[in-house]
Every structure is written in C-alpha cells, then in structure tokens.
Amino acid sequence: MTYFTQFLIDGLAIGSLYVLVTIGFTLVFGVMGLLNVAHADLYMVAVFVFLGVAQDLHFGIVLGAIAGIAAAGLVGALLFWQVIRRIDRNRTLSMFVATLGVSYFLENLVAKFVQFRTEAVPPLFQSKFYDVSNLHFSTGQIVLVGSTLIIAVGLSQWLRRSNTGKLMRAVSENTHLAELVAIDTVRIMAIAVILASVIAGIGGLLVANTTLSVNPFVANDVSLKMFAVAVVAGVGSVDGALVVGLFLGMIESLTVGYFGSQWETVIGLGAMIIVLLVRPQGLFGKRLRVG
C-alpha cells in the first residue's frame, strides 16, 4: 500500500507537467482550431533561457525565472504573428507542418547552443524533503502540484467570468458569429497564444525545479502526452485537461511501478485510441459543430 501511494504521489508531479502544457495547448486549439505542435517546446525554451540568464549570465534565480517565462511568451507571440497568422486557418495540415517546422528549428537551435547535452538546472528554491510514514515527497513537488491546481482552476474561472474570457469562449465556439458581433478575433487569438505560452513557460520552470535537468528534445515526449491528454479530455476543455492530465500521470506512474517502464506510453496512447473510438469529442468535450 505504501508503494501504491508513493507511485500516486510521484504520478501527481508528472501529471502536473502534462496539465500545465496541455491547458495552454487545448486553449489555443479550442479558440483557434489550430494544432500548435511547437507548443511544448516553449516549455523547453523557458527552462534554457532561465538556465542561461540565471547561471551563465549570473543574473540570479529570480531574474532568470522572469526571463524564462517572458521568453516563452515572446516566442509564442512571434510564432503567432510570423507563422500562424500567415496561414489560412482552415488549412489544418499546413498549420501542422509549419508549427512542426518551428518545433524542429527551436529544438535544434537550442541543442546547438548546449552541444546536444542534457543540462543540470539549478533549483528555484531549496527544496525540503519529507519522509512521512515511508512516503517521500519534497516541497518542490508540493509547489508544482499546488501551482498546477491554482493555474488550471484560475484559467478556467477566468474564461468563465472575465470579459476577455467570455470573448475567448465566443471565438472558440463560433468564429464566424464572433466576427458578426464585432469581436476582434485576431486580438483574442493573440491573447490566447501568449497566455498559453506563458503557462507552458511557468510549467517548464516548476518541473525543472523537481527534475533538476533539461535536454533540448524533452518536448518530443511531452508533446505526445499533451496530444493524448487534450484528446482524451476533449479539445478546448481546461477542466478536463486538469483531471485527465493528473490522472494520466498517476496511471503512468503506477504502470511503471508495477509493470515496468516499457508500458508507460502505451497507457496514454491506448486511452487516446479508445476515447477516439467511443467518444470522439473527449470525456469533457462539447460535441463538435457540423458546418
């Protein structure tokens, strides 16, 4: 039973990573109908910029963290104005290929800077490690999971209550109708992309704070899980991504613990296939409009 609980605790931390990356992705996909494959890379960019500014340039942890999050937002903004905006929104495949290109470019650019090595990341703060009745956990993990809950619930409530959130939901449901009620759809999309990028950046820093390492291609693995969580939860559902992300993290952790790590990815992708067959709109998704 102790093992089981320990796996659950570790799973919550992994799940938090999935949640923080997926809520931004699903927000952007929901609002713009755009598959931004490069989204998870912003998480990696934030960590490397943090590393560079905090450690190599000696600006310290706080400035480094701010720079890392700002860099994620900036790259997201550039991605929106220089790539996404130039492509016809109805051409999903073109979007997919273009953002995939951006993803490869970012990963290899960063890799070039660090000579294709996995880098050690300094912690954001000194973590304490607890050992309560044979269960191990750290303040880093607690902060990660807590922040994830706050960010996901906060985003969901913001979408529900704020004016901009309402406009975002309107654009998300029906872009044509949104234009008829004079919503500046481009502005709303830009806000969605930048917000999503910043959240991914925050996620990157919080996760690196527990793993204490990062490599330029870390996003490949995260991307795959991000798609799985978004699809299983239902694209556009932030609440769904929170539940499914944490759940997937825990399931994966249990799988690795009891069956071995070769089964880890099978679970997430298997769930994705089953959900696509049984409930294509996702567990928490709204039914897709036809026409």
Partner: protein, 276 residues
C-alpha cells in the same frame, strides 16, 4: 444621428434622401458560382424593407455581403452616404452599426443567455460612445421577451428554436444597430411562434425607429410588416414595389413556383430599383 461618421445632417439639410442604405451593382461570387448578380436596392431610413424570393435566390448572400462576410463581392454599399464596401465586418458593426441577425441558430450555444446578451451590450457600449442613437438596455429586451430573463443562467443550447431566435434578435438590438439585417427569422419555427416574433419585431422596430432589411422566405408575413419589398430571382432583382402592391402581383407567385418570370413580365430590368 444614427451614424457618427455619416454626413446625414448635411444630406438632410439639402433634402437629398431618406435613404439609409444604397446598394449599387452588387455581385457575390462563391468560387465560380455567381450567387448575386448586379443587384441594386435602397433601404429607407427607419422602416422595414423586405427582400423576398425562393430558396437559393441569393437573399442571404446579399445580407452576408452587406455585413462583410462573403469571400468575394463587387459593387458599392453606401450607408448614409458613406461607402462601407471595403471595410472588414468588424468595422462595419462598430463604426457604422450594420448588424446581421444570422440565419438559423445565431447564438453562442455553449454560453448562457445572459452572456450572449452581454456580448451585444459590449458592442452597444462602444457604439454609444461613438454617438449611436438607437439604444436598448437589458431591461427593455427582457420586457420584449420575458422568457430570456427567466432563462438567463441557462446555456443557449437548451433554449427552443424560437427562444434562440429571440435571443439573437435581442443581442443584435443591444448592439445599437443603425441598420439591422435580419436573415430568415422564421426558419424552422412553428407558425404561431413566427407570428409572435414578427409582431414583436414590427412593434419594436417601429417604436425605436430601427432601419431594417428583412430577408424572408415566408412572403406573406414579411410583406405584412415591411413597407417596401424587393423580389429576388436567381440572383437578380425582378420586382421592386411597395409591399401592398407586390403582394397582389401575380409574378410573386410565379417566382415561388419556379416559372421563369420573364415570360410574363418581359424585361425585368425596368424594375431593378425602387423609384421613390
């Protein structure tokens, strides 16, 4: 002034026109298909003008072109003397008050009734700041359609078709329209409901002096509330007359039965523009 940027004051002074909307040689294409061909029409200020015709005649395409949401259209669209044909849809709404109540379910179904109305108010506030005069507040709208007050916290997807149509119309009114384009409000609704919605529309439009261009397949009811009407056939205007006159014209029935009106009427182009 209905429109802050218009030269209406000057025009009234020289007595030029009671015309709010002036469309000249409008054509709409969808790829190789020409849906609307060389249509010219006028909509007088503060009245209801109807655009009737059979299914597929191009009525909705004209409204969508006026709202600025068709991929390709040519011709000039003047509202109160200002050419808006090159403006994006958003500018037409905010700066000129051209508001479309779209065909079918023109509401955000995943949002609540109140949120849908708030979206209208948001634009209405900006329009009022620019000097728009047709103003409505939530209270007035709730008085028009009390059911919307009751259903305030319900998602619009749980409303009946008629209630959704009431919601779409209400939201559009809250946007302070200078020109309201109403597309097939009767679509898919029970006859008694159509009657009720048309009664409310006709009252509120007259009372608040809203300028309306109404597209409707149900000719009978459209001609009851409109003062002037155009008959559209296969993308071309074949008749233009006061509603009372058009109602009695045999060519109206023929247009709906699908017989070529040119057999009876000769050259239709004489009637291309209402002569008022």
């Amino acid at each position: 002034m209905d429109d802050p940027k218009s030269a209406r004051g000057v025009m009234d002074f020289v007595g030029v026109s009671r015309t709010a909307l002036e469309v000249t040689s409008l054509s709409v294409n969808y790829g190789a298909i020409r849906a609307v061909q060389d249509v010219s029409l006028d909509v007088p200020r503060q009245g209801i003008t109807a655009l009737v015709g059979a299914n597929g005649a191009g009525k909705s395409s004209i409204l969508r072109a006026l709202a600025g949401i068709v991929p390709e259209c040519h011709g000039s669209i003047k509202l109160n003397g200002v050419d808006v044909s090159k403006l994006p849809a958003r500018k037409r709404v905010i700066d000129h008050g051209i508001v479309l109540v779209p065909e079918g379910r023109g509401v955000f179904t995943t949002m609540t009734v109140r949120e849908n109305l708030e979206l209208g108010l948001l634009i209405g506030d900006r329009r009022r700041a620019l000097g728009a005069t047709t103003t409505f507040d939530l209270e007035e709208v709730y008085n028009l359609f009390p059911i919307l007050r009751e259903r305030g916290d319900k998602r619009a997807q749980y409303l009946s078709g008629g209630e959704q149509q009431m919601l779409a119309i209400s939201r559009s009114l809250l946007m302070s329209p200078a020109l309201l384009l109403v597309d097939e409000p009767s679509m898919g609704l029970a006859p008694q409901l159509v009657r009720r919605i048309f009664d409310v529309m006709s009252n509120v439009f007259a009372q608040h002096k809203v300028t309306v261009l109404l597209v409707e397949q149900d000719t009978k009811i459209a001609l009851e509330i409109a003062s002037f009407a155009y008959l559209l056939e296969r993308g071309v205007i074949s008749l233009a007359a006061p509603s009372a006159v058009l109602r009695e014209d045999p060519r109206l029935k023929i247009a709906y039965l699908g017989v070529a009106s040119t057999i009876l009427s000769g050259d239709a182009s004489d009637n291309n523009r209402g002569n008022r």
